[in-house]
């Protein structure tokens, strides 16, 4: 196995090799072990400073990154666009350059514009971790999803995964497709035609518009949220109609031939894409995903920080 990542940054899954992904997953095993110790903190990154720049709202990802950073003993500064000079008209580069002038080693950034992380990596001399850029990529989410599948099934290879819902606006979907395919899984997307992008066929994924057929095919269903904040045009008549066609309830789950595993990247709109009963059932690994998120982010930070000295 390789001992370092081929990339200086984590901008997306597309730029990672299969070996990179496997290195991150196996390193995360060790961090998961650390997280179950009485003392959950290790000193590795005690001389590293990390800035979390969130130009878009986030609960899980921000908390998860911050916890991972603190567990590694890094110094952490947080930045939220809503309470900053961005609202006074400062550009992205200026904001970040000013933060870096305060001697920051790693930048974790979420931004509403696709490509923001790549743009930053080209213009500043610091490690960048993409924590979600618009509808483009969300690499750590895909890594923790793959890790959770590997944890449950032993490996990702040859597993059948269906991603259900708003594929068009989802960075989770795109990163998951890249990650799962690199690890040898079969991927299907399922949703209304209006929420499946036209280019999807170029990614070598199956497309299905009937939820039952998709669920009968798969081992794992990743149920995405309808991104209400990104719907600039009406892509479906109503939430109620979406739920009737693509919402997963217990009745449907029980009627399937196989006992499939349910995943969700959060936040859940309970009663829309999945019912509470499904989310809290023994087939759901949603909370395992959250727990694994911290271990995955610790692994990414640990591997990337290794050559910041």
């Amino acid at each position: 196995m390789i001992s370092r990542l081929s990339s200086k940054h984590l901008l997306g899954i597309k730029g990672l090799s299969k070996e990179d992904i496997e290195l991150i997953l196996s390193t995360a095993d060790n961090f998961k072990d650390v997280l179950n110790r009485p003392v959950k903190k290790i000193p590795s990154l005690r001389d590293v400073t990390i800035a979390n720049l969130f130009f878009e709202n986030s609960t899980r990802t921000r908390l998860s990154f911050e916890l991972a950073e603190r567990r590694l003993s890094a110094d952490v500064v947080n930045f939220a666009a809503s309470s900053s000079s961005v609202s006074k008209g400062e550009t992205l580069i200026d904001t970040v350059k000013n933060i870096l002038a305060m001697k920051v080693d790693i930048v974790v950034m979420r931004h509403p514009n696709p490509g923001a992380a790549v743009f930053l990596a080209k213009h500043i001399d610091s490690k960048i971790i993409n924590a979600g850029d618009g509808a483009h990529e969300h690499p750590t989410q895909a890594l923790l999803d793959a890790y959770s599948i590997r944890e449950k099934f032993g490996e990702v290879k040859n597993k059948r995964v269906v991603i259900v819902g708003d594929i068009l606006h989802s960075r989770v979907a795109l990163s998951n497709i890249f990650c799962l395919q690199k690890l040898g899984a079969e991927v299907m997307v399922c949703g209304p035609t209006t929420l499946i992008p036209k280019y999807i066929s170029s990614l070598n994924v199956k497309v299905e518009h009937n939820l039952r057929k998709a669920l009968e095919w798969c081992d794992i269903a990743n149920m995405l949220r309808i991104q209400l904040e990104r719907q600039d045009t009406k892509n479906f008549p109503s939430i109620r109609e979406y739920t009737m066609m693509y919402g997963l309830n217990m009745e449907m789950l029980r009627s399937l031939k196989n006992k499939i595993t349910i995943m969700h990247p959060g936040p859940i709109n309970r009663g829309v894409e999945i019912t509470s009963e499904v989310a809290d059932s023994d087939q759901s690994i949603i909370l395992n995903q959250v727990e694994n998120g911290v271990a995955i982010r610790m692994a990414v930070l640990y591997l990337l920080a290794a050559d910041t000295y």
Partner: protein, 179 residues
Amino acid sequence: MQKRLLLNSKHFEITISRLCYQLIENHNDFSQSALIGLQPRGVFVARRIHRRLSEILNSEKILIGDLDITFHRDDYRRRDIILPSETKLNFSVDDRKVILIDDVLYTGRTIRAGMDALLDFVRAKKIELLTLVDRRYSRHLPIEPDYIGIQVDTILSEKVKVYWKETDGEDAAWLITEK
């Protein structure tokens, strides 16, 4: 490259047995003690000691664990990254006497990291150190072993390499001098 044999297979066996008897003098039946091998090479010594101790004491209850120290090393970001190994501690270390075990004691930095890693599993009653080979006069830290298999005087350009029947085909310790 020059090689000098420090321990052959027979001496190896005798040394392990002697270390076991020394341990028994201080730890009796091991009911309040635990052996912990440092990853990656110390775990071989620990397993061998554990096997011999179990034979001598006719006990199957002696506790043994593996401890990885990677995350507590002081050279992270100063050299090529070292990937972690597994930590296996299926018992509580709290209030136990722990014997940290490694194959070669050189600068003492690994042991310092090992003690820090161990203290993450709460408070051991006492920590002792056992090493199969002690390279004298080369410490960077004030750390000395409690149990020593063999002591050797070495210089910086020399290396001590321990081979194991389980992985290398035979038990032996060699002093290697790079020319």
